[in-house]
């Protein structure tokens, strides 16, 4: 008996204290969050694989590689610029402008100070498992904003102009609006209860509005509109590749959505959205999935079965319900995403035919319009939900405030930057190069060398598909002779 008591006492003496156990559990919790964010980043790479395939497939054969390389080089320019400037903007601009200190929760004191490139938290800091992967998740969002814009500009924008614009959008504009409306301490959140939990507006809507500003300066592709201003349609060289790209984007979206949440079980009871409000990963995944279903359905019916717009409708549907994905009932998400799919097709057609803006992939309608629409819907269907540090109830007025803040924040920089590039003749490729195809000028080669070249086709406003060369040459002559009609075709 005495020996048993001695053994028991000895075991007790070796047992870790409650404090030690807490420290280990806390470390495990941090590592779990680190691993979670790491894999969301891995999955989100698929978004960029998808954007590359999507846009390259939508381009004509002569522009395939210049289109694809644009997506790849997005990574080359946005990554360093977001590291040196963008992350600091997110950490320090929550009150609207740069500020000392941070209005975040006590669990993250001094977040602003942790976002500078020379901060310990941006390196191999064994005391902090969160910041580096959190940074990477946001970086992937930044790439996404650039990729949203890139598709709209294909086949006539200069690669270098696009890279400058994407740095501005990905490392300054979108992350500024994220600081204002997509953080628990942002001024729109703490003052107005602005609620956009999975980034309908702060990523998609803002990228779409920025893109609209660029497109107004860039102008349509040669041959896009006839003399009466009616839209012709270019045939993408590989629609299968475009649809595969969209499916990859959808797969990556699951990583995107998951990365909008976080969990540290020792600090919080469960999953939290970006505002620190409780939700579940399952609810988010449910809303995305049924959002695709509703969006595909809406896109199919609005476009009368067009494959491109059916899949784009799925994207539009998800974007329409993203803002309220943490609170929507799945049936509500299904209904709303259906309307999003419908509206994206109608708005895209209206932009192309009435506004005569040549958005090659419908980015302004799908991302821009549906991004704003998603935030608008939260004001109607999720009003009263407590948001942010101050638990300010979300409201229609608060959502409108966010929309009014973000529209000029995104549109004006896009318009002004594109206007400046245009003034320096650095925005658009020369018309001769545009007609020949960007691949020949940029890379001096055709990227389908074993395939016979067939005449390029174009679909007229009345639906006839004809050889494009005479139409392009005629429009080229107008462009190169001061846009005067009836000019003799060169050659």
């Amino acid at each position: 008996m005495a020996s048993m008591l001695a053994s028991f006492t000895s075991l007790l003496a070796q047992a870790p204290s409650l404090q030690d156990v807490n420290a280990k559990v806390d470390l495990d919790s941090q590592v779990l969050l680190e691993v979670f964010y790491f894999f969301t980043v891995v999955i989100m790479w698929l978004i960029h694989v998808g954007f590359m395939a999507y846009e390259a497939g939508a381009a004509r054969r002569k522009n395939v590689m210049s289109t694809a390389l644009k997506n790849i080089l997005t990574i080359a320019v946005v990554t360093p610029s977001f590291y040196y400037f963008g992350w600091y903007i997110y950490g320090c601009f929550e009150p609207g402008g740069p500020a000392q200190g941070h209005a975040g929760p006590e669990q993250f004191p001094g977040f602003c100070g942790q976002t500078a490139p020379w901060a310990a938290e941006m390196g191999p800091d064994l005391q902090n498992h969160l910041n580096a992967v959190f940074f990477l998740a946001f970086l992937l969002f930044s790439w996404t904003t650039g990729s949203i814009m890139s598709g709209a500009l294909i086949e006539r924008v200069r690669l270098s102009a696009y890279l400058i614009l994407t740095v501005l959008l990905g490392s300054a504009v979108w992350i500024m609006d994220a600081a204002w409306g997509w953080s628990s301490g942002g001024w729109l959140v703490t003052n107005y209860g602005f609620h956009d939990s999975i980034a309908s507006l702060v990523v998609h809507g803002v990228a779409g509005a920025f893109t609209l500003g660029v497109l107004l300066n860039l102008g349509p592709r040669i041959g896009k509109y006839d003399m009466e201003g009616r839209a012709r349609t270019f045939r993408g060289h590989n629609t299968h590749m475009t649809l595969l790209g969209l499916m990859l984007i959808f797969t990556g979206f699951y990583g995107f959505y998951a990365a909008c949440l976080f969990i540290t079980s020792t600090s919080f009871p469960g999953w939290l959205n970006i505002y620190g409000s409780p939700t579940t990963l399952g609810a988010i995944a449910f809303v995305i999935t049924i959002g695709f279903a509703g969006g595909f359905t809406g896109g199919w019916f609005a476009s009368k079965g067009d494959p491109f717009w059916t899949l784009s409708g799925g994207l539009a549907g998800v974007i329409s319900v993203s803002a309220g994905a943490d609170v929507y009932h799945p049936s509500l998400a299904y209904l709303l995403s259906f309307t999003g799919g419908l509206l994206a097709v109608w708005v895209g057609t209206w932009i192309e035919r009435r506004l005569r803006i040549d958005d090659a992939v419908g980015a302004v309608a799908v991302h821009g319009f549906c991004g704003f629409y998603g935030v608008f819907l939260v004001g109607i269907f999720a009003g009263g939900y407590p948001t942010g540090l101050n638990n300010v109830e979300s409201s229609f007025g608060g959502q409108l405030m966010g929309m009014m803040a973000f529209l000029p924040l995104a549109f004006i920089p896009g318009y002004v930057a594109a206007w400046l590039l245009k003034k320096f003749n650095l925005l658009r490729v020369p018309p001769e190069v545009e007609l020949e195809g960007l691949d020949m000028a940029e890379f001096q080669q055709d990227f389908f060398p074993e395939f016979e070249r067939v005449p390029e086709g174009i679909v007229l406003p009345d639906g006839q598909e004809v050889e494009s060369a005479p139409i392009l040459l005629e429009d080229f002559a107008r462009v190169t002779n001061g846009n005067r009609p009836g000019t003799r075709v060169p050659g």
Binding site: Y83, A120, R158, S160, V429, R453, P470, L473
Partner: protein
């Protein structure tokens, strides 16, 4: 045994280690400045190089008189390049059309045909 390793001791040392000194040191500022310089220089380089390529190609296609000697058709380096193309000379008479419609094998304005449901 792995659990007997002096992890805490290592942890402290490793956390204090930084390639160019601890955080907020001169070394980290210098590295940051160099990185920003590289980033800006690469963007300027992209603008310059692309502009040169586009101007040369435009000149080649439009048969302008003042073309730079450096041909736009010089291939890029790398396994995807096709060096034979650099030496393939397009006859002067074909230049404009061959560039502008990128359809050397079949295009002639008079051959514009209705492909689908045209008359």
């Amino acid at each position: 045994m792995i659990d007997s390793f002096p992890y805490d001791e290592w942890s402290d040392k490793i956390a204090a280690f930084w390639t160019f000194g601890p955080e907020n040191s001169t070394g980290t500022y210098i590295m940051t400045a160099l990185g920003i310089i590289l980033m800006v220089a690469s963007i300027v380089g992209w603008v310059w190089l692309e502009n040169r390529k586009l101007e040369a190609r435009q000149c080649f296609c439009a048969r302008l008189e003042a073309c730079p000697r450096r041909e736009a058709s010089r291939p890029a380096r790398g396994p995807a390049s096709r060096p034979w193309r650099a030496h393939r000379r397009i006859p002067e008479s074909e230049r404009s059309l061959s560039c502008l419609v990128n359809d050397r094998s079949s295009f002639h304005p008079s051959k514009a045909t209705i492909l689908a449901s045209g008359p």
